[in-house]
């Protein structure tokens, strides 16, 4: 293989891994605090839609980012209210977030722009252009979130409390710290990260919003989170690996195998998902989630 193709694949792998990484870190924050978040997909989707619409309306990618993050936080708070304050089932709430996001973005998009749910194409300042080495600023922000997450969780008071609340909220409560406060903070941080990931999709990687443009990335991010055993640096590795698979799949399109002929596009596109299943089933060993993940905190009586 010549170096040109290799460089193209790696470059494209980085590009493709960024939304995964943003969502994966969002899930990491949420789940380390004990709130299971399968609504990553939905949050990225509303962020992508809101960011594209705002960038188009205000002519600024940065305003787009702001609205993307706000939309994502709003959905994160819905999930927080359902699962922290109301102690509802976190899986059900997450599913609801995903369905709501998928429906809402398509309907509102179509009502506003009449283009089947798409936003009009973004150009110029409406998009995040190249920042350094041909990548947009959001790539670097997301990459920076890895060491920041690692440091805050491991070395700060907030991080210690957050790790504790994901393992044993009663211990945090009896130590005189608010369980709900910590969990809401984590969920909002997750919202911000999903907002960045979603904005990246519609305003940096693409030029505008398409219905369902997240295409399962939120779920792949969850797989990466388990693969990384809920830790920040391994999350970077896992997301890059999935990005790489995606990039290779793109390169393989139109490639013919001797004796079989051209590989169908669908089969290639299924590759990352297939790899996820294989990796999760066989290679990584036992991944133990935070002990209190998914369990609403109720004072015993």
């Amino acid at each position: 293989m010549d170096l040109g193709i290799l460089a193209t694949i790696l470059d494209s792998a980085l590009r493709l891994s960024i939304p995964l990484l943003a969502a994966c870190l969002a899930g990491l924050w949420s789940e380390r605090s004990g709130v299971v978040d399968i609504g990553l997909e939905g949050k990225m989707l509303v962020a992508a839609a809101a960011a594209a619409a705002a960038a188009y309306a205000f002519g600024s990618a940065w305003v787009g980012l702001l609205f993307g993050i706000l939309a994502s936080i709003a959905f994160a708070l819905i999930h927080g209210f359902a699962s922290i304050s109301q102690r509802g089932n976190q899986i059900v709430s997450g599913v609801a977030i995903n369905m709501l996001a998928a429906g809402l973005t398509a309907i509102v998009g179509n009502a506003w722009y009449g283009q089947g749910g798409r936003t009009p194409p973004l150009e110029g300042d409406q998009r995040f252009g190249d920042f350094v080495f041909g990548h947009s600023v959001l790539v670097y922000v997301t990459l920076l979130a890895v060491p920041v997450t690692w440091f805050v969780l491991g070395r700060t008071r907030f991080g210690l409390r957050l790790r504790a609340v994901g393992e044993n909220p009663a211990a945090v409560d009896t130590a005189g710290i608010s369980v709900a406060g910590l969990r809401y903070s984590a969920v909002v941080i997750g919202g911000i990260l999903c907002g960045i990931g979603g904005t990246y999709l519609s305003v940096a990687q693409a030029a505008g919003f398409l219905p369902n443009m997240t295409a399962g990335r939120g779920f792949i991010a969850l797989a990466a989170l388990i693969f990384a055993k809920w830790r920040a640096w391994p999350a970077l590795g896992a997301c890059f690996l999935f990005g790489l698979l995606d990039a290779i799949a793109n390169q393989l399109q139109g490639f013919s195998l001797p004796g079989i002929g051209e590989i169908p596009v669908q089969a290639i596109q299924a590759l990352p998902y297939l790899m996820t299943v294989i990796l999760l089933a066989g290679v990584i060993g036992k991944a133990i989630p935070p002990r209190a993940a998914g369990v609403p905190y109720v004072k015993e009586r």
Binding site: R155, T156, D173, A175, G176
Partner: protein, 507 residues
């Protein structure tokens, strides 16, 4: 000097349940104050109010004479109150240092606070003999050491008054002794200790004063020196109780159950029972003493046929039980019945009406109905009769199983098994979560059964219970049987050492 803690006219209701009724309590500074009462008497609720877990509906809390509002654990900590919960409030994957500093980190960055915590822990280790590896994760520590972390947490946060909720439930006797030594040294340094327990022996051994609660009310506070276990038991229950049921010496009969070289491996591949051998004769109670989690449960389940042993054999009435026949159904048919230790998980179906729970495992018996159809009226009548015999309250066969108290649920299980005329009865934790009054009843029943010639294998973590009931006592530690004693020829210290794994050969 004003008392360390005063609770005045505390009331607390949960729905229709009046958990605390006008409770008054005064705890003198520098004393160890015991609080006793049956399950549901309101002890834990009262302490949860003092520690800010719940807020009282009415009443006043005074700390060192000052009226204090305690609305959260934080308020309690600031008022100098620390609590060691029965179920430890520790974060297992975190280290001792991290657990101690949680909630009092001393700044946004951990590094600065950590040095302070280490210094303070070293000081506490010196002052009170609370040595511990501060960099170990809590999950790696033994239960006794985890409790030590809880105490260190409270002391680090500046507790003057320490509340301990059933602290010895999870400890070996030597660990419990060490804890009491520590509590005495805390007292000498001017700290106040509130000890919640249902073990009257502990109350007598260590407290200065003791308060008794019954059905949400504080019924008495007495100087420990001026009272006795029978008097305390009577105050707790509201009537006279026998703490120790008399039993006569009796020569055991033929061997009924013989277990040879049994080994059990659990689902995770850990060896839980290692090469255990024992024999139970007719008309004999064999007790297995040990701290919870040392293989007793697995041994009992393996004998009952619920777990397949990896090695070893079981003989019943001299007949070898083949692997194919070694299941609960077959063993029951042979006359080996089982009162499992976790009645809500293995003994009953909480959501069933009592009369259905009362035939679990026996629903195929022909007299219970007509073919596959169960005769409900008949089941109800049967259970009503048993409920009268076993003094189950309320005597309502159609009531949901979960609506009975622990002691009454246990009586339903006992009635079901005992009335099937066992030849051998396996009994696990027969009085866990059972009130003193019901304990007396259950003990009487078991002894009557033994006198009638039934062989009983008893597993209990309550050493008192083992010593009162058993004719012969085996001790288990780490899955091995570490010793055997005649009940008449041993004492608590002796058994405590065996339970801690100090075997005869080693000693």
């Amino acid at each position: 000097m004003s008392p360390a803690i005063e609770l005045i006219a505390i009331n607390k209701s949960f729905g229709a349940v009046h958990a605390n009724k006008d409770v008054n309590l005064s705890v003198e500074r520098g004393t160890i104050h015991g609080i006793v009462g049956e399950n549901g008497a309101g002890k834990s609720t009262l302490m949860s109010i003092l520690y800010g877990f719940y807020e009282a509906d009415s009443g006043e809390i005074r700390v060192s004479g000052k009226p204090t509002r305690i609305r959260s654990s934080n308020d309690a900590i600031n008022a100098g109150i620390g609590m060691v919960h029965q179920h430890f409030m520790l974060v297992e994957p975190l280290t001792v240092v991290e657990n101690v500093m949680l909630g009092a980190e001393g700044g946004a960055m951990l590094r600065a606070g950590e040095a302070k915590v280490r210094k303070e822990l070293a000081r506490l280790a010196k002052d009170y003999g609370l040595e511990i590896d501060v960099d170990a994760t809590v999950a790696e520590l033994s239960v006794g050491l985890q409790q030590r972390v809880e105490i260190l947490k409270a002391l680090y946060r500046g507790a003057d008054t320490l509340i301990l909720d059933e602290p010895t439930a999870v400890l070996t006797p030597p660990e419990a002794d060490a804890l009491f030594e520590l509590l005495r040294s805390l007292k000498q340094q001017g700290k106040t200790v509130i000890l919640i327990t249902h073990k009257l022996r502990e109350i007598m051994a260590i407290t200065d004063r003791v308060s008794v609660m019954r059905r949400g009310e504080m019924v008495a506070t007495v100087e420990t020196a001026n009272t006795s276990p029978p008097e305390l038991a009577e105050l707790m229950v509201g009537r006279r109780v026998l703490l120790r049921v008399e039993k006569t010496e009796k020569a055991p009969g033929a061997p009924m159950l013989e277990v040879q070289n049994l080994s059990v491996v659990d689902a995770r591949g850990v060896l839980r029972v290692a090469d255990a051998s024992l024999t139970v004769h007719a008309g004999e109670i064999v007790g297995i003493a040990g701290v919870a989690g040392n293989g007793q449960s697995e041994l009992l389940e393996a004998i009952a046929g619920m777990r397949r042993p990896v090695l070893g054999s079981v003989r019943f009435e001299g007949q070898n039980i083949g692997a194919a026949d070694h299941n609960p159904h077959q063993m029951r048919k042979l006359g080996l019945l089982h009162v499992p230790e976790d009645r809500l998980r293995m003994g009953l179906v909480p959501a069933f009406p009592a009369f259905e729970s009362a035939i679990l495992g026996f629903s195929e018996e022909p007299q219970l109905g007509c073919g596959p159809i169960l005769d409900h009226d008949r089941l109800v009548a049967d259970l009503a009769r048993k409920m009268e015999q076993y003094d189950v309250r309320p005597p309502a066969p159609r009531l949901k199983t979960s609506n009975f108290s622990g002691g009454n649920q246990q009586k339903i299980v006992l009635a079901r098994e005992i009335e099937r005329n066992p030849k051998v009865l396996l009994v696990g934790q027969p009085t866990r979560g059972v009130d003193i009054g019901a304990i007396e009843f259950i003990h009487r029943r078991l002894i009557a059964l033994r006198d009638a010639g039934v062989g009983i294998l008893l597993v209990s973590v309550e050493l008192d219970e083992i010593m009162h009931l058993s004719d012969r006592i085996l001790t288990m530690c780490g899955g091995k049987i570490t010793g055997e004693r005649k009940a008449s020829e041993t004492n608590e210290q002796d058994l405590g050492l065996l339970m801690a794994g100090v075997t005869d050969e080693a000693a």
